[in-house]
Symmetry: C2
Subunit: 305 residues, 2 copies
């Protein structure tokens, strides 16, 4: 048995415009590096090598909460040392907490010889998600563990559907502002008109069909959201113009990543994703806010060796 | 140019539990037979050979309305004689009006040498749907023209997505009671909780994924509806027990066909669909209501030769 495993656990984009609270995909980068070491000393110890000041108390750390959930299923007398180097900024809206939680449980499971199914690892990681945001949403953790595009049909019981997809490239613009997940939840309507809901599920059905068939024009038409985006876009300065710039540069579609503030666009190839990054950067510079831009193929996972 | 064409235009099941107002599939039977003859005498003339007493005034007949919509795009000095033999009972909830409308425009287009695209034929047929129910829903007309499983992403503009699917067999039980589409619309909530809407689009996304991958267990789990079915099932005596009987006989899932009163179940093979028919019949006999049962492979279309 190996004594120590390091996992690169990628950023993820959830919601994906028309799949609020159920759809997500994994990037290849940025990623967190999570190193887990089995120890004969019981308990969970957390350290960071990134200077971001995240909590090292395992009860207050998302990776600690996820490992505690895994540990509750063990009868072995083992403890865990977790060392985290975050490549994903907390609060960016690209699955920072899920990456640390999933990275930790994937690494731990590998050290334990692969006892758990991927869906069980997601279940453990949800303890981290609950700690981070107060809700058991799996649309970041599931793609982080499974990779690629994933649909979460249900969280209780957890029902994860892997979706075949054509090659896709994501451009993510991360404005250096804070949007609290709790604020992004608070602006959502509690009720929606049935007609709007029908439009949304028609679009999601079409989006899933487009992933399966590779019809990128259909995918583009399906990337519309009348419900969540109108409520949240006011929280993200420069959102509308940045997306418009991305579309004009050739992106298939895009919108708010997770609960924001990151803005993502999907493109058919890396060259277009790069042009989209340039166009969005020019647009976003006009806000006067700092930002970072990432370009990555869709498809990484914490479970990849 | 042929002078006369007869089309077998099939019944269709819309909504399909989790795809309210956007999803539908075509059966092979029952079907309407629609014979259209080009005439040098301008105007539209309708006759019936089924004794059901449907209107022959082209302004009041769904096939007449559909042909009038098609004719508005012609500059030829031609008229149409339409002879309809209905195999689908009006008001059954399995796309009776769509079958006549689509059959007429498909036959007319063939006589005209195939001038129109299938989506244009659906657009014409929507004039018939609007006459029948007051709403431009395309989730019967689109599968009737295209065949198989179809998702209507949008009606304005019309955006129709053909969905690949594994072999499937439908059992349809048609209680001989009347449920007016207007009543079935009136019981629907105007607003729905966001959480219910999320559950529904998660299920529809999973259903479309299951069609693409052939995962019938996923399809079964996805066939749930918290929104429309609870509102409408009270209009259909014996609904709950009949569906339960169908599930216990091995069906994948099922529910209300269109706005009812027909109840449909999907099965993986014809033998199961037949057992499902037997079980539902035994169950439904307990209501004391008359009913008919149909078994058909999924996949017919009015456009099939």
């Amino acid at each position: 048995m190996e004594n120590s495993v390091t996992v690169r656990s990628p950023a993820t984009v959830s919601n994906v415009v028309c799949g609020f609270d159920c759809l997500g995909f994994a990037l290849r980068e940025p990623f967190d590096e999570v190193r887990v070491t089995l120890s004969s000393q019981l308990g969970i110890r957390i350290s960071h090598t990134d200077g971001l000041g995240l909590p090292s108390d395992p009860l207050k750390n998302v990776a600690g909460a996820a490992i505690a959930a895994l540990q509750s299923r063990l009868t072995d007398g083992v403890g865990f040392d977790i060392q985290i180097h975050k490549g994903i900024r907390p609060g960016s809206g690209i699955g920072s907490s899920a990456a640390s939680s999933c990275g930790a449980v994937v690494a731990a499971d590998r050290l334990l010889g692969g006892r758990f199914k991927p869906a069980e690892l997601v279940e453990f990681a949800l303890a981290g998600e609950e700690l981070a945001s107060g809700s058991r949403h799996a649309d970041n953790a599931a793609p982080c563990v499974f990779g690629g595009f994933v649909l979460v049909r249900s969280t209780r019981p957890l029902d994860i559907v892997e979706l075949a997809h054509p090659p896709l490239y994501a451009t993510v613009l991360h404005p250096q502002i804070e949007v609290k997940t709790s604020d992004a939840r608070a602006v959502l309507p509690r009720e929606v008109p049935l007609a709007s809901a029908v439009r949304n599920w028609s679009n999601l059905g079409a989006f899933v069909a487009a992933l399966a068939s590779g019809d990128l024009e259909l995918m583009s038409r399906a990337m519309q959201d009348d419900i969540v985006e109108p409520a949240r876009m006011a929280l993200i300065p420069g959102f509308h113009n940045a997306r418009q710039a991305g579309l004009e540069a050739g992106a298939i579609g895009g919108g708010i990543s997770g609960s924001g503030p990151s803005i993502f666009m999907l493109s058919a190839d890396e060259r277009t994703a790069s042009s989209v990054a340039d166009a969005m950067s020019v647009s976003y510079a006009a806000t006067g806010l700092d930002f970072r831009v990432y370009i990555s193929e869709v498809g990484g996972s914490a479970a990849a060796e």
